[in-house]
């Protein structure tokens, strides 16, 4: 557990970067981003609570989900206090990848993932609470960090206990999850880059297409009026057409 702090190099880098990033109107935007991320985590934990068979884990996942939902509200409220026009990003902006992680992993992998993700969050919030100079934000991050400590503790305890019962190595599972996350991050970076390339290519296609045929489109009469409707399909064969 990272209650004593984190790797000095990471901490130093954080202390340099944070005051530069966390300034002015960006703070409200960052807080709203955190709010959306916490809300997404809450959903994942709710889905896990719904799906898991073990009653003890269901209770833990539910409590974890409610903590995340509460964090989402706290971050959003803090953002709105700083800027009344602060707006939560749409769900898609923070969750480009498919969720329902519980369904895509084994139970032990999920526990390892939770432990890892919460540890990352706890490090981040601990650093933010010690680096930022705003007392209200310091208090906010300190409160969230305390909850993350509970999440790390239960995930770690449950992972290690169940690994023993199942006769598998908890360390190996953690490593597997870490590798999978690294691969996921790599692909996400690739997607982001690929998205930019795709947009460039599409922009060129637009220019070419517009030059070729836009004049035909613009010449169409598109004033408002009643158009006669096409006949509705009557057979399954008719309905197999997509156009």
């Amino acid at each position: 557990m990272m209650s004593q702090g984190f790797v000095p190099l990471w901490g130093l880098a954080f202390r340099v970067v944070v005051p530069w990033v966390w300034r002015g109107p960006h703070i409200a935007k960052k807080l709203m981003g955190f709010s959306a991320t916490e809300a997404g985590s809450a959903r994942d934990m709710f889905l896990a609570a719904e799906a898991v068979d073990d009653p003890k884990l269901r209770n833990l996942f539910l409590r974890h989900a409610l903590d995340e939902a509460r964090h989402a509200e706290m971050f959003a409220a803090a953002a709105r206090r700083l800027s009344t026009s602060a707006r939560a990003p749409a769900y898609e902006e923070t969750h480009a990848l498919p969720q329902n992680l519980f369904a895509s992993m084994t139970l032990l992998e999920f526990l390892a993932f939770v432990e890892r993700a919460e540890r990352h969050g706890q490090r981040q919030f601990q650093a933010l609470s010690t680096t930022l100079h705003d007392p209200a934000l310091q208090d906010l991050f300190a409160r969230v960090e305390r909850d993350e400590q509970f999440h790390i503790a239960y995930a770690k305890a449950e992972l290690e206990r169940r690994a023993v019962v199942d006769g598998v190595s908890a360390r190996r599972i953690r490593r597997r999850v870490a590798l999978r996350e690294a691969w996921r991050t790599w692909r996400a970076m690739g997607r982001k880059l690929g998205d930019k390339v795709a947009r460039l290519v599409l922009g060129m296609a637009y220019v070419v297409g517009a030059l070729l045929v836009a004049v035909f489109a613009k010449r169409e009469d598109h004033a408002g009026r009643w158009h006669p409707s096409m006949t509705a399909p009557k057979t399954l064969q008719d309905m197999r057409r997509q156009s």
């Binding site: 790599w186 692909r187 970076m189 690739g190 997607r191 880059l193 690929g194 930019k196 390339v197 795709a198 290519v201 599409l202 296609a205 070419v208 297409g209 070729l212 045929v213 035909f216 057409r241 997509q242 156009s243």
Partner: protein, 58 residues
Amino acid sequence: MLRRTRLIAQTAVELVVGIARGPRWWLLPFVFVLGVTALALLFVTAFEYAAPFVYTVF
């Protein structure tokens, strides 16, 4: 993979034939441009695993 490719091809043919037979036949050159773009994007996506390096090459 093969079935998916076949279904995609069928859809593409249906799109082209549908437009060619309809009143907006003049969209065909644009559909062709988009088709080439789509192939380029599919090619790029297929190399997602090589990720950033591939896009740097592009």
